[in-house]
Point group: C2
Chain length 410, copies 2
Amino acid sequence: MSLLVQKYGGTSVGTVERIQAVAERVAADRARGHDMVVVVSAMSGETNRLLGLAHALHPTAPAREVDVLLATGEQVTIALLTMALEHLGCSAKSYTGGQVHIRTDNAHGRARILAIDGERVREDLANGRVVVIAGFQGMDGDGNITTLGRGGSDTTAVAMAAALKADECQIYTDVDGVYTTDPRICPQARRLAQITVEEMLELASLGAKVLQIRSVEFAGKYHVPLRVLSSFEDGPGTLITYKESKMEQALISGIAFSRDEAKLTIKGVPDKPGIAYRIVGDIAQANINLDMIIQNIGADMTTDFTFTVPHADYRQAREILQSTATALQAREVCGDERIAKISIVGVGMRSHAGIASTMFRVLGEEGINIQMISTSEIKISVVIEEKYLELAVRALHSAFGLDAENGVPG
Amino acid sequence: MSLLVQKYGGTSVGTVERIQAVAERVAADRARGHDMVVVVSAMSGETNRLLGLAHALHPTAPAREVDVLLATGEQVTIALLTMALEHLGCSAKSYTGGQVHIRTDNAHGRARILAIDGERVREDLANGRVVVIAGFQGMDGDGNITTLGRGGSDTTAVAMAAALKADECQIYTDVDGVYTTDPRICPQARRLAQITVEEMLELASLGAKVLQIRSVEFAGKYHVPLRVLSSFEDGPGTLITYKESKMEQALISGIAFSRDEAKLTIKGVPDKPGIAYRIVGDIAQANINLDMIIQNIGADMTTDFTFTVPHADYRQAREILQSTATALQAREVCGDERIAKISIVGVGMRSHAGIASTMFRVLGEEGINIQMISTSEIKISVVIEEKYLELAVRALHSAFGLDAENGVPG
């Protein structure tokens, strides 16, 4: 008999049939004696439909009104799911973000939760009711409707679990857990039974498909036990933990990768203080996120400077860099859009030496040249030529002992 | 420079183009210097779409959750209209029913407004903002979302106008005012420049197409000047007033009619006290509304009893009446589904004799037999054979001097 907070995303509640299926799952857990709080997103497609209407009336609609508009999406879902639960004989009650006192700041469209009053929910739970809460939304101090930004329903669920001191926060989604890598690239990919919150954060590019990073940070802050499960099939999913398990012997937990970046290099820049800021600052002012940044010490009093940017910003970043190069009298600017970034992540790195050298050896044996390297405490990232991506992921997956036995996800 | 409360129904805001047109109309009135409060309904079709989803999950969904669901309809509209106004450079702000403190009782689906706090709206108006309010919805004392029932947006507008002591409450709809009768039946029908609230109430069958009767009652109670206008064409509409105008010389203001009733008669009932209650009570218990009720004094210690019921309830009412007849040893039950009711309405009746006799003479001259007669202070209703309906309406319209000159609506 636990207190569970479950969150179902847009795909999981995308049709009346799916809402019906969620109701059955919730009612079954309730019948097992659990106290149940359910956080839901807007039905899939609804948010885009609403944004389409908004855009037709105002190309850059006021953020306050966009929030009023979008908040209706989850409000529809809470009403429908509550109806479905009641139809199953399961006593239930719906709440909007404002009604359940999810107090936020007034940053419309990307509001942060400041406080949650769980009193009303506790009363309902004590009366045997399932409480259904609209994710993604809250209310600021003046009673204005706010939204937490896309994927904010995960944050709502985690915050609610923290406020209620729930035994587990279960995020139901369209995948059945966190994998060692993307199974579409590497058929040997294996579902992880558990993963630490730090690994989850470093695996962003894998994890973002499963959980909003912000909600993971939130869960970490309040030590909310977080589990990712599939809405569509039964299974234990992946538990996100806060300490390293003695059971997990693997050196690394997962392999993330990205094709979404491009590489830019400025060569022959005068090697003097403030030069890095000058180069990075111009790009950052254009609101372009720089990811990996590497500076090589050159010979003749000049240096080379390389970084990656999102593909979508490549052309703009290159233009900015070109004018910076002219101003700095740098030798040249060159770029490459056909790169891939691969990261191996694992808390095991902390206590084991030689992980990096193993990674480089494996890539070398496959004839893959490493263009850039960047490391953190529990992650090593490399940039390679894009065409080697699948080969590299599979080779590393195997070399680090991540492959599932017989290819069956564990 | 007035304070205007304008209400736009579902058809008037049914598409982004129409919302755009409403925004232009509101912005124009604002530019004329008026303080503007705008109450809107859900986009046409939206309420039925939502009810369809609800029905798929619960054949008789809990009323509380239906209200949570339906309230999203107006919430979408307020956001979109506010965006459209802002895009026109017209400062605006949206409020849900709860946000603007429309406090109701907890009768979900048919809640009554208990109080409105106009403070927040007054502040916005003082700051030069157009205030856009979701019609049809409110919040009960426990913070639950309630709805006022279909057409409740009119009530919201009138209540808001009363709370703010607005100079006029303007109900924009798809007709351009209240007519002397239905122009589809009588091409000579004329738009009334004004009409008293009492006449409006008695003209229910005409008026209901234009205004919710409940909102007219509400307006009458607080003496809110109410005007009905068209969203789609310019014009002064019809003003609903609270005292008889000296200008209006017509004896009657309008002719209402209905084909929606059927007639039932129970003959040869013992003529003793309590018999009317016995007959009416059984029908009323089945939640069937009786309209005209007439008792004729018979000869041989028995009486005949006739009343009308909605067409849809005719069969059930007849069955109930049949068993009542058996219990009372009445002679027989007979009924007629092919009847029409015609009512002439006018405050002029109070001060002029002979209106009824004129009505009966006109019908007699057309060879139309009158089956039932019922009168009130400002209304005379008759039941006739259905096939004579159009003929009767046109003859009465002309006889009472209501015809437009050259058939042009006045």
